[in-house]
Each structure stands twice: as C-alpha cells, then as structure tokens.
Amino acid sequence: MESYYAQYGVVVAVLIAGIGLVAVAFTAARIVAPRRPLPEKLTTYECGIDPVGEGWAQTQIRYYIYAFLFVIFDVESVFLFPWATIFERLGMQAVVEMGIFIFILALGLLYAYRKKVLQWA
C-alpha cells in the first residue's frame, strides 16, 4: 500500500514545483518590473484596435457538435487503455470484442459524415 502512494509522490512533487515556479515568476515580475499604467496600456488590445461588442459572443452549434464528438471518442479511448494492457493475454477474443465496439462507433461517425455535420462550409 505504501508503494502505491509512493509512486504518486513524484506527481505531488511536480505539482508543488509547478505551482512554486509560477508563483515565483509572477512575484518576481511584480517586484522587479516597473508599473506605470496608462489608459492606452489597459485597453484589451495594446496594438491599438478597439474591442467591438461585448465579451460574450454566441458561437455556432458546429463547435458543440465537435465537442460532442470529442466526448464520445474520448469515452471510446478510455476503453482502449485497459484493452491495451490485456489484449496479448486474451488474444483473438479481445481483438473481436474491440473490433465490434469500434465498428458500432464508426457507424455513428459515418452517419455524421453522411449528414454533412463534419463539413465546415
């Protein structure tokens, strides 16, 4: 049990080092850098283009479809990880099982393709 937690000690150490790095960098910049805020400097685009409209813009539903496809194939990939660890042991059976799984999902991708939701026209 200790060895299980010990292997995540590195993860925690990297996490702490990462947070520390960002904290030190920002604190050092705050201490060292001169701060003379001007109205021009505080605008959204310092290059001089004035921002138009509100910060909230309605996006197209196409983005939603892509995000949705991402969720579905993310779930598919989650099953691939345990499959990859055991497929040598189970052999042909595992290949057939994953083949059926991916085939059924590929039908969905084919449907999306035929309905032209993947086209960005």
């Binding site: 949705f68 991402f70 990880f81 660890t85 059926i100 799984f101 969905g108």
Partner: protein, 165 residues
C-alpha cells in the same frame, strides 16, 4: 486519523469549496472553472482510494471532455452574466431539497455500511480492470458502444441544419 484520511479530508474540503463557489458564482464561465476544481478533487479522492484507472478516467472524461462540452454549450447560449439573470428565486426550496437529499444519503449509507468492518484499500491496476471488462463483462461493454452511438446520432439530429426546409 491516518495520513490517508487527512489527505482525503483536505481533498474533500477543497472540492466542497469548489462546489459551493460553483453554485454561488455570478459568472457562468467561472462556475464552469470551479466545476473543473470539484471534478479534479473527486479524481484525486479516487487516487487516494487506490482506484488509479478510475481517477484518470475522471480526469480524461470529466475534466477533459465534459467541461469542454459544457463550455461550448454555455457559449451557445446568449446568457447574460449577472446575479439577476441567474437567480430564479427558488433558494428556500433548493436548500430544503438539498438538505433532504443529504439527510437521506447519510442515513442510507450509515445504515448500509455503518456496522460493516473497515475495508482495506487495495490498489487495482488497469490490467485488472481490463481483464474484468473484457473477460466477464463483454456484453455490457458492447452495449456501451450502442449507447454512445445513440448519443452521437441524437446530437447530429439536433444540431444538423436541414438542407431542404
């Protein structure tokens, strides 16, 4: 308390604070980011309970994909940001229902597992999960693909623009 329990309590506390800020924050995008915090803490709690595969699935699916989907669906709306727009004045009922659900859950879990002996945490590797899924639960696994297919087709039907009106 053992060190495991201390870590678990800290993670739960951070997750609960995130959940509280999630429902009280005035900006829906901030709320989505607090959701990331809460879901990550749930994943970290899985890690503490030695369910490594489940923890990384939580990170991959919920933090990685579901939150992205949520952000995109938020950006689909024309929701104005602000307390007046988000508050539907049902706080009393919401608090009542929340307290009721909490009491019910505490009662149920205490009744079911309160007198049971403590379970020793045993790390489960991904290959054990894989052996279980691909040897014993083949049919449920294939049914998952049908479920995902149904979700995909449903999303396409809803989002697709009709060419011939």
């Amino acid at each position: 308390m053992t060190s495991t329990e201390v870590v678990f309590v800290v993670l739960s506390a951070v997750g609960s604070i995130g959940a509280f800020r999630l429902v009280t924050s005035k900006n829906v995008v901030h709320a989505a980011l607090y959701l990331v915090l809460t879901l990550s803490m749930v994943g970290a709690a899985y890690l503490v309970l030695a369910a490594g595969f489940l923890a990384w699935v939580q990170v991959l699916i919920y933090v990685g994909a579901i939150v992205v989907l949520l952000l995109f669906s938020l950006m689909l709306t024309k929701a104005p940001i602000g307390r007046e727009a988000l508050d539907n004045q049902q706080r009393g009922w919401a608090a009542l229902v929340g307290a009721g659900v909490l009491a019910g859950l505490v009662f149920l879990i205490q009744n079911a597992f309160g007198s049971a002996p403590r379970i020793q945490i045993q790390p489960a590797t991904t290959s054990e999960v894989g052996a279980s899924v691909f040897a014993n639960f083949v049919l449920p696994f294939e049914v998952v693909s049908v479920l995902l297919l149904a979700a995909l087709v449903g999303a396409v039907v809803i989002a697709r623009r009709d060419e011939r009106p």
